[in-house]
């Protein structure tokens, strides 16, 4: 009985972590994706709002994909690494490109 309850508690916290990874990690990743699309495509000569439109279309499809991935991945570590870490890296790269474009 006690074992079952412990298991249940573990499962509940695991569910919460999955939800956080999918919702927040997914958001961070898509933010980075949009930022890099806008800065990168603009730097490559695409019109600013075109880059923005394209970035957001891609980002919502990506959100859907990574959200599902966060729920079916065997472990959460790679999910957090790609979503939060990758999102931060994409956003940082976007800021770097912006820095050079404004210079």
């Amino acid at each position: 009985m006690q074992l079952a309850m412990t298991l249940k508690r573990v499962a509940r916290s695991e569910v919460l972590w999955r939800i956080a990874a999918a919702v927040l990690g997914g958001y961070a990743f898509c933010w980075g994706l949009i930022a890099l699309s806008v800065a990168g495509l603009y730097a490559l000569g695409l019109e600013f709002h075109d880059a923005e439109t394209l970035g957001s279309i891609l980002a919502f499809l990506a959100y859907l994909a990574v959200f599902l991935w966060a729920f079916c991945a065997a472990t959460l570590r790679p999910v957090w690494l790609v979503l939060a870490g990758g999102g931060a890296a994409l956003a940082a790269l976007a800021s770097l490109i912006q820095h050079f474009l404004l210079a």
Binding site: A11, E14, V15, R18, V23, C30, W31, I34, A35, V38, A39, Y42, L46, E47, F48, H49, D50, A51, E52, T53, L54, G55, S56, I57, A59, F60, L61, Y63, L64, F67, L68, F71, C72, A91, A94, S95, Q98, L101, L102
Partner: protein, 577 residues
């Protein structure tokens, strides 16, 4: 955490679908109504029941109206803490005037934005809006609520919950969950093609609810996916404000370069200048469209930096015959009327964007597609509602044995979001017809009262659903379903009757005169009433059958009967396969 991919998808579908399904229900239903938002406006504001009008003359009609406008109180209240020092008595520096119309608008909505001296954030403006009769320029009373385009429509994407834009975020999350539910739903049911044609209405509620859930979900799958997805794209700027935060410097750089390239000044020059005839500019724009083989009406007319030598006038063609809302913009120098810029054809990416958002917002003329949108949206409602019913039916016997209140609560929330929502909407229409034209002093504005009554009606329906839900905890059917269906039917008929009594526009008259905006709303209400009565009778019949079955097999109990029916259905399915 999950044994396999399909189980993970089933978990996602069930729990995310349940929690955000309640939001999605409102989004789908009020989205469906928004397809005919302007027609609902006509029903709610009898003074506006006349034929759609083209954009009126600026020089004769619009200019005097614009010049008489001043920011409204709520705008000033918002600005008060956002300026250094007091707000001025009068606002004379106009940043922009604008008017937008479509082939379905008899009255014209216009707005004005004013520069605010000593404002902390340069993007903040004082604003004013007004609705006028374009034939005379006369203003409509500003306490009249356009129930379709100013209440049901924004409810569809913001829940009319504007604190910290939270309503937008909840709806955005719900739209994301809709996409997730569609994908996970397809993964859960591998026999998609067969489910397309499977509906067993005479089976146990659990089975027929699932059949209907699968059928409406699969049949309208592309529709649901498209609308949830494009809805997100439309508000991408709210959900991911990247270019107004992290990349704002780049955005500003782009705006400055764009102003240089297009010749449309980004800021005022600070030198006063007169305004040439805008009607002549509109005529020139229409001449240029006709020369390109696309003669058309004006959809959007805007003036920027009014009264300044940097001022310009923008004329956009109405997208009545194409998917983009407006297009083919031509910009004129306000002081001379000379053409500054004729917008080039949109780029490939812009066309994709216009296609996605334009097809969702649907301001073009295509009545058949408009009705298909309504049916698609209502099919989404059926899909979500049957999802709730399946959830409850699958668990309620088990919960009854365990003494859990889980399925009772879900069922009551389902009643609230299905029939309760209809009661709220019908109640609002009734209030709209019953409230006197002039309210006693000290009362809230008429439109505000209508909104309060809408929410009050919904809250009452929720109380009723929870109060009557006790039977669900014993494995039965909540009588609130039946009772609220009858309430919906009575209220819908009452709304039609009140429209007749207060305006004289009964159905024989409106149909005879082919005045479809009002006739359509009335007919839709009556059809809804008929469906509600039908639904109430079916719920009664089912409740009686369930009671008979329980009485016939007191030893086994109804739980096993439902299970047997379900397993028999599965066996049959297996035999067919």
């Amino acid at each position: 955490m999950f044994k396999n991919f399909r189980l993970a998808m089933a978990w996602l579908h069930t729990w995310f679908g349940l929690v955000l399904g309640f939001v999605l229900m409102a989004v789908f239903f009020f989205g469906s109504l928004s397809v005919f938002d302007r027609e609902i406006d006509r029903w709610a504001i009898p003074a506006s029941r006349f034929e759609p009008q083209p954009m009126p003359s600026f020089d004769k009609v619009l200019r005097p109206v614009f010049e008489s406008m001043q920011p409204q109180q709520e705008s000033l209240d918002y600005l008060k803490p956002r300026v250094n020092g007091p707000l001025p008595e009068r606002f004379d520096t106009v940043r922009a005037w604008g008017a937008y119309t479509t082939h379905r608008d008899p009255v014209l909505g216009i707005y004005a934005n004013y520069e605010v001296p000593n404002v902390k954030d340069h993007d903040d403006v004082a604003y004013a809006t007004r609705t006028i009769d374009p034939r005379s320029g006369a203003s409509l009373p500003d306490d009249r609520l356009k129930i379709g385009s100013r209440f049901f429509y924004p409810l569809h994407y913001s829940l009319n919950f504007h604190w910290m834009d939270l309503g937008y975020w909840i709806v955005g999350m719900a739209a994301m969950v809709m996409l997730i539910a569609l994908v996970s739903g397809v993964v859960m049911h591998r026999k998609i093609f067969r489910e397309f044609f499977t509906f067993r209405p005479k089976k146990a509620t659990q089975r027929s609810a699932l059949d209907l859930h699968n059928m409406t979900g699969v049949l309208a799958l592309p529709f649901h996916f498209f609308f949830a997805f494009t809805g997100l794209v439309i508000f991408a700027g709210i959900y991911f404000p990247v270019t107004h935060t992290q990349l704002n410097p780049l955005h500003e750089l782009h705006e400055k370069l764009e102003a240089q390239e297009t010749g449309l000044p980004h800021d005022r020059a600070g030198v006063a200048a007169p305004l040439a005839s805008v009607d002549a500019m509109v005529a020139e724009a229409q001449r240029r469209w006709a020369a390109k083989g696309m003669a058309g009406e004006v959809g959007y007319l805007g003036l920027t930096h009014v009264g300044d030598s940097n001022g310009y006038v923008s004329v956009y063609r109405a997208g009545t015959d194409r998917i983009a809302l407006t297009g083919q913009g031509i910009h004129f120098k306000a002081s001379t009327g000379a053409v500054i810029r004729e917008e080039p054809a949109p780029t490939a990416v812009a066309r994709v964007g216009e296609f996605l958002t334009g097809l969702h917002l649907q301001h073009f003329r295509h009545w058949m597609l408009r009705w298909l949108y309504v049916f698609g949206g209502l099919m989404g409602c059926v899909c979500i509602a049957t999802g709730f019913i399946f959830f409850v039916e699958k668990r309620k016997k088990q919960h009854a044995k365990q003494g859990s209140q889980g399925s009772r609560a879900v069922d009551a929330l389902a009643v609230t979001t299905v029939t309760g929502m209809l009661i709220a909407a019908a109640g609002m229409l009734i209030a709209n017809r019953l409230l006197p034209d002039a309210l006693p002093s000290g009362w809230p504005p008429r439109g505000d009262l209508e909104q309060y009554l809408f929410w009050a009606g919904w809250a009452l329906a929720m109380l009723h659903a929870f109060a009557r839900g006790g039977v669900v905890a014993q494995g039965g059917i909540n009588p609130a379903w039946r009772e609220q269906c009858y309430a919906v039917a009575a209220m819908a008929v009452a709304a039609v009757g009140l429209n007749w009594a207060t305006t004289g526009d009964h159905l024989l008259k409106t149909v005879g005169e082919h005045y479809w905006p009002v006739a359509g709303v009335d007919l839709f209400l009556l059809a809804g009433a008929a469906l509600a009565v039908l639904a109430a009778r079916m719920v009664s019949a089912r409740a009686m059958r369930a009671a008979d079955a329980a009485a016939a097999s007191p030893l086994q109990g109804t739980a096993d009967i439902t299970d047997m029916a379900a397993s028999a259905a599965q066996k049959k399915e297996a035999a067919h396969a």
